[in-house]
């Protein structure tokens, strides 16, 4: 009988077949162990790591693509993880800036020159301290121009962007320095044109805003030689504040003049003689 079993096994391999078939049924519950599974696990782990890197990068990139201000971009980038945007996107961000703020970052003329040369394709933003470093790049990722947007500039921009939803009282740095529009412009009138240009460098931007200016605030902080002026505008039932920066030395004189008037209710007889341009 044993011989028969042995011969049948030699002929038909029934033990191998039976064992193999049994093992197939238990395959699903057996451990994923051994060299090939270890390699597979490493592949899975590597893929997960990569997915995480890509997801983080894409999230930052997505946020940046939706950004309409430099501050929104600055809030997204982290050290070692910058964002790449198109040249057009940078132009739009730039055009959203008040002209004087834009000039602090790069002159519009220079931007025009870069654009006209036809090499500028993309812009890369990376964290630089509390500010931003922006690289304007050509198609080969060569830096055409490197711009630094300091934390001061970002702070100013943030104020300007927040201001439209606030009244002057909502901005603490105008506290105790809020004047009626009539008083303010009366005082402004008292200075020669060149001084006024330094106090309010871009009055045309105010003219473009619909509504009436009712109050003006002068900031108590000077940043990089400039002091902010806030113009509270009433347009029907809506109020908003437009921020403009004036040169520190000129605004300081204006404020002194306004404070003096407040105290004395008197203006100098001939301010043009007293206040001379630098």
């Amino acid at each position: 009988m044993i011989s028969t079993v042995f011969i049948l096994e030699l002929r038909f391999d029934w033990i191998e077949r039976a064992v193999g078939a049994y093992l197939v049924t238990t395959n699903a519950v057996r451990p994923e162990s051994g060299a090939i599974w270890e390699q597979g696990k490493q592949t899975v782990a590597a893929r997960q790591t990569l997915e995480q890197i890509v997801a983080d990068r894409q999230a930052i990139q997505r946020e940046a693509r939706g950004a309409t201000t430099f501050n929104q971009i600055a809030a997204n980038v982290t050290p070692g993880q910058g964002v790449m945007l198109s040249a057009d996107h940078f132009r739009n961000l730039y055009l959203n800036l008040p002209p004087e703020a834009g000039r602090e970052i790069i002159s519009a003329y220079e931007l025009l020159r870069l654009a006209s040369q036809g090499h500028w394709r993309r812009s890369y933003f990376e964290k630089a301290g509390d500010g931003l470093m922006v690289y304007l790049l050509d198609a080969g990722n060569r830096v055409l121009r490197q711009l630094k947007i300091t934390s001061d500039v970002l702070l100013n921009l943030e104020r300007q962007q927040l201001a439209p939803v606030e009244t002057l009282e909502g901005l603490a740095y105008f506290e105790n320095r809020i004047y009626t529009a009539a008083h303010f412009f009366e005082a402004l009138e008292a200075f020669p044109e060149e001084v006024r240009r330094n106090m309010l460098p871009n009055p045309e931007s105010l003219l473009q805003v619909p509504g009436d200016i009712v109050r003006v605030g002068i900031s108590d902080e000077a940043v990089s030689g400039f002091i902010e002026l806030g113009f509270e505008i009433v347009d029907g039932s809506r109020r908003k504040v437009i921020l403009i920066k004036g040169h520190e030395w000129a605004v300081w004189r204006l404020r002194t003049y306004l404070e003096g008037k407040k105290r004395n209710a008197e203006a100098p007889a001939d301010p043009a003689k007293k206040w001379t341009s630098p």
Binding site: I2, E9, L10, D13, E16, R17, V19, G20, A21, L23, V24, T26, N27, A28, R30, P31, E32, S33, G34, A35, I36, W37, Q39, G40, Q42, T43, A45, A46, R47, T49, L50, I53, V54, R57, Q58, M84, Y124, Y135, L137, G140, N141, R142, V143, Q146
Partner: protein, 672 residues
């Protein structure tokens, strides 16, 4: 009891005993089976999953794929030469198509030989068992491991058809030299696809898996050839080929790829790339993540770099009297000089080519980045820049080449000597650099101070530790060829420093960008002063210590500087055109001076500059001459090389010098 009855009784006792033993054995096997099954690994479904690991691919700047890491070059059986499949079957498992995972007859025979032939162990693993072993088990030899391997083989046979098993097998067999699977092996050993393997090649490869190290054809060609004959004999024995075909195949010459050529020519470069990637993403992602890495490598430049280095070494070996046959060379790496070459694109810092040694297959130590060797006079441009920037001197200022002794606080006086041992008296600084006069350089560093020299070197990108002693100006602190090439590129760009880089872009397997290199430059040097150095280093190449470059036929505008350390331990030449900067170092690893058979020292001009020249001739082939950009504050004057006074153009000693705005020629006799 009769004899017959006793006999039957005894026989039945033996029978029952055998039955009990057989039953006991069967129970033991059954118990062993269930014990083994408990930790049996799961078999992947489908089996092709074993080759699903995405490879990390590294591409050259031209888009050409230069390296694949991990992953397997898995190919269907239809793309494997039938010769190879027949050879493997005949050698490893000729009853593969008949059995169900185990070849019982062969196993019994092997068991018999192992048990009853002293000192001989015979294996009987089928292809399926080998596949199971390679996929799941270590190479530890235990009976339990062997039993589990057998069980997995039985399952694989029950679960998959024979074609799938063979396909999985040929795609994962280790052949040695880092080749896994037949496609990689065919590419590595013969530089062709698996489909194109001839009978001779297929039979050689089929013999390797038995012991990839023992039969490595690069190291033991005769053994590999003998093994090939065994494979061919097996093929004849199983009727796969005729004896005549076997004889023909055995007689055919085998053209193996040059050693290491199957991997790639830029292996030193790729090592740097891999190291950078590992630092950024970790080894797991690099080797299992399937990254796509775009590098700065220019394969054409790389192959010229390799060729120039090899040609240069042949000449150098001959000069040194260490040349030998190729066979001798493999065993005598340490007795021959080594080499490094790095080429950098000046206007962005992209590393285009890198050779880190004589041969990657002999030594993987990358002398282009890891070696800090003394640059000798190659460091003088940093000294002259510091002098021009900080002191009121110009290239036309006269210094006196004479024996000097410079007192050093707390140490013996410093008495640097000229290389040739002679002193030429008064000469302008441009000539002093062109002729690499040490005594003048020593006077300059005494005036400007070693810290100023180090500061300039740092601005140019030298990162190695530099000792603030006078001799630093004569290159007594070690630097790497990569640092030198990158630092000299700062002169070529008029003072704009670009950080050298190897990786342009990294993508994940789906092509999503993980990082991009931003090519930003930073002004490190004044454009006017940097140009004065360029002009002086043009003099080095045109008529100075590097004039061999011109004699070898390189005629594009170029600047550079030779360097030789004490006792000819190191020979350097670092030079550049407006577009490309390359640094070449040659020397012994073990710190022995290089002297020719006539006992003359071999310095930068004889050892390194010829390699540089040959490389640059190829690298710039077809390029139109392009002059270095001359800053607006530079004007040229012809001066007498000895007196520094204005000289007519045709004066025999006239040298053209570049002067910055405000720099005047001194009167006769005024010296530095």
């Amino acid at each position: 009891m009769t004899f017959g009855a006793r006999f039957i009784r005894r026989l039945s006792s033996i029978f029952y005993l055998a039955l009990v033993l057989a039953g006991g054995g069967a129970l033991a096997v059954l118990a062993l089976f269930f014990i083994a099954v408990r930790e049996l690994p799961r078999v992947p479904e489908p089996l092709s999953r074993i080759i699903e690991t995405p490879p990390t691919e590294i591409f050259a700047a031209t888009g050409e794929r230069v390296m694949v890491i991990g992953g397997r070059e898995a190919i269907p059986l239809s793309r494997v030469s039938p010769h190879f499949i027949q050879a493997v079957m005949a050698t490893e498992d000729h009853r593969f198509w008949e059995h169900h995972g185990v070849d019982k007859l062969r196993t019994l025979k092997a068991l018999w030989v192992t048990l009853f032939t002293p000192g001989e162990v015979q294996g009987a693993s089928t292809i399926t068992q080998q596949l199971a072993k390679n996929l799941f088990f270590s190479y530890q030899r235990t009976y339990m491991r062997k039993f589990r391997e057998l069980l997995v083989a039985l399952q694989i046979e029950a679960q998959y058809d024979k074609g799938a098993i063979v396909e999985a097998y040929v795609n994962q067999i280790p052949f040695g030299v880092g080749a896994h699977g037949i496609e990689q092996a065919a590419q590595s050993f013969f530089g062709k696809s698996a489909a194109a393997l001839t009978l001779a090649e297929a039979s050689l490869l089929a013999g390797l898996p038995k012991s990839p190290t023992r039969y490595n054809p690069y190291l033991h060609f005769d053994r590999a050839k003998n093994r090939q004959r065994v494979v061919l004999a097996r093929m004849v024995a199983v009727g796969a080929i005729s004896a005549r075909e076997a004889q023909d195949a055995a007689g055919q010459a085998l053209h193996l790829q040059p050693r290491g050529a199957g991997t790639c020519t830029g292996s030193y470069f790729l090592d740097v790339v891999l190291k950078e990637l590992e630092e950024r993403y970790g080894p797991e992602v690099v080797y299992h993540g399937g990254l796509k890495v775009m590098t700065t490598l220019d394969p054409q430049l790389q192959s010229w770099a390799v060729e120039s280095v090899q040609n240069g070494l042949i000449k150098l070996d001959a000069l040194l009297g260490v040349a030998g046959s190729e066979g001798e060379r493999l065993d005598s790496v340490d007795t021959r000089p080594q080499v490094a070459l790095v080429a950098v694109e000046t206007n962005c810092g992209a590393v285009k080519a890198m050779v880190g040694g004589r041969a990657y297959s002999e030594t993987e130590y990358n002398r282009a980045v890891q070696n800090n060797r003394l640059p000798g006079s190659g460091f003088k441009p940093f000294l002259y820049y510091a002098v021009f920037e900080k002191l009121a001197v110009s290239p036309a200022t006269v210094a006196v080449d004479q024996k000097i002794k410079i007192p050093v606080v707390g140490a013996a006086d410093w008495q640097p000597k000229n290389f040739e041992g002679t002193y030429d008296g008064p000469m302008i600084l441009k000539r002093a650099l062109m002729e690499s006069v040490n005594s003048v350089a020593a006077q300059l560093v005494e005036r400007v101070g070693p810290d100023a020299v180090i500061e300039v070197a740092r601005r140019c990108g030298i990162k190695s530790p530099l000792t603030p002693v006078y001799s630093v100006a004569l290159g007594t602190s070690g630097v790497s060829p990569l640092e030198m090439a990158s630092a000299f590129a700062t002169f070529a760009t008029g003072g704009i420093r670009h950080e050298p880089f190897f990786i342009r872009r990294v993508e994940d397997p789906l092509g999503r960008i993980l990082e991009e290199h931003i090519v930003g430059g930073k002004r490190a040097l004044d454009a006017g002063v940097a140009y004065q150095l360029v002009d002086m280093m043009q003099g080095v190449v045109n008529t100075g210590t590097g004039a061999i470059v011109r004699r070898m036929g390189f005629d594009l505008p170029a600047a550079g500087k030779t360097g030789t350390s004490d006792d000819y331990h190191d020979a350097w030449f670092t030079g550049f055109t407006p577009n490309l900067c390359a640094s070449v170092w040659v020397g012994y690893d073990r710190g022995v001076g290089m002297r020719d058979t006539a006992d003359r020292g071999i310095g930068g001009a004889r050892g390194a500059a010829p390699i540089w020249a040959e490389f640059m001739i190829h690298a710039t082939d077809g390029e139109p001459p392009r002059e270095f950009t001359i800053p607006s504050d530079i004007r040229f004057e012809n001066v007498d090389a000895v007196t520094g006074r204005a000289a007519g153009q045709w004066s025999p000693q006239a040298v053209r010098v570049a002067l910055r705005e405000g720099q005047q020629l001194k009167g006769e006799g005024e010296t530095f």
